[in-house]
Amino acid sequence: MADEIRRLSDDLARDPSSLVFMPLADALRRAGQLDLAMRVALRGLDRHPYVADAHDVLARIHADRGDLERAADEWEMTLRLDPSHEQASLGLGFVDFRRGNFEQAEVRLAAARDGDPGVATALAHVRSALAARSAGARVPASGFDVPAGAVVQPAAVPTPAPNGNRSTASERDTPAVATPAPSRITEYPPPDPTRTRQLFAPVLDGDDQMAVLVDADGLVLAGRYLDATGSDVSDIVAAELAGVSSEAERAMRHLGLGAWTSLLVEADQSVVAMTPAPMGSLMVVAASRQTPVGLVRLLLDRALTRARDWLARVS
């Protein structure tokens, strides 16, 4: 197990954008390193939010931690992304079983595709529990454990589809090439002028979304902002936003409403959201006017998380 974890960590260090994080997180889970497994899975999902297997792995980690509610959320997300995902059906059946909803568990498992021995075994346990309850006998508390899950294989990095969304069709089919690499998990590019411009690309969902991290003096730290013609206007946007943090802070101090958390600007063509980031910086995210405002705020949260990690690493 330790060798497997080391090898997968090396693979991930060699190619942080790969899907190796899935088998790594699962291996860590099976080794009982749940906190680390969770961290690896969440970082992976930060880059690959539309990979069904990744949500399945995270669900199993939650289940192992005893957090059935979050496990169910992740398995439901898995099924939204891939309605034929049997492990997710098995997982939700497990949650129903643990909650005592045997009928619902039976319906869910029976609807799963035939042929999976794990589903068949789980279904047998559920039916046994149902029969025991009908007969007034003691219902076995165990017999249906957290789904072990299929061996998750790393796959190619999803590429943006023509419509701007991530493709998922072939994400589980291409095995990664394993070659020796330094044994550490790293995901953020070093402060290289060209690579830092792409820092937020993994957390954005389309070409119409942009993110830029601006320092307290109105200088660009990372990310970029392109206008409608494709010209990079990051510097001028950053300069115009210099001082927003301090003014927002002053306004809130006068009103006694606590620290400011976000500033949302709706314009004719775009929705721009910003929030205070570490070291007096400002995280700015923009999206087209068609993007729901709630989604823009979600993107802002994701970009901020990435900015925090990156700043902690480079500062």
Binding site: V244, M252, L263, D268
Partner: protein
Amino acid sequence: MMKSPYAELLAVLSRHRGVVGSFVVSERDGIAIDSNVQIGVHAEAVAALAASLHRKARLACGAAGCGQVTFLRLDAERGGICAAGRDDLVLVTISEARANIGLLRVEMMRAAKALT
């Protein structure tokens, strides 16, 4: 005493749940033209800061080719500020966390169109 042309508009906004103040401010110099605020709210200072924020947002959006700013919302732990502008005038509300921002936003954007 003669009422300002914005008195009724501000009174309507101030009746929204959680709204503790509303005012019309000049974006250029940050001076409040009319206000309807509860006692204890530092209307002048907040008006100036809200106008300044609106100006910064407008300039940044102009630089980025985003077009005209239609609505601005500054959120804080226990409330926030909303602003909707037209030409040099900016309509600003101060609200607590319990305010219905969606409803307030619609009302403010409608009212901002009438600012002259």
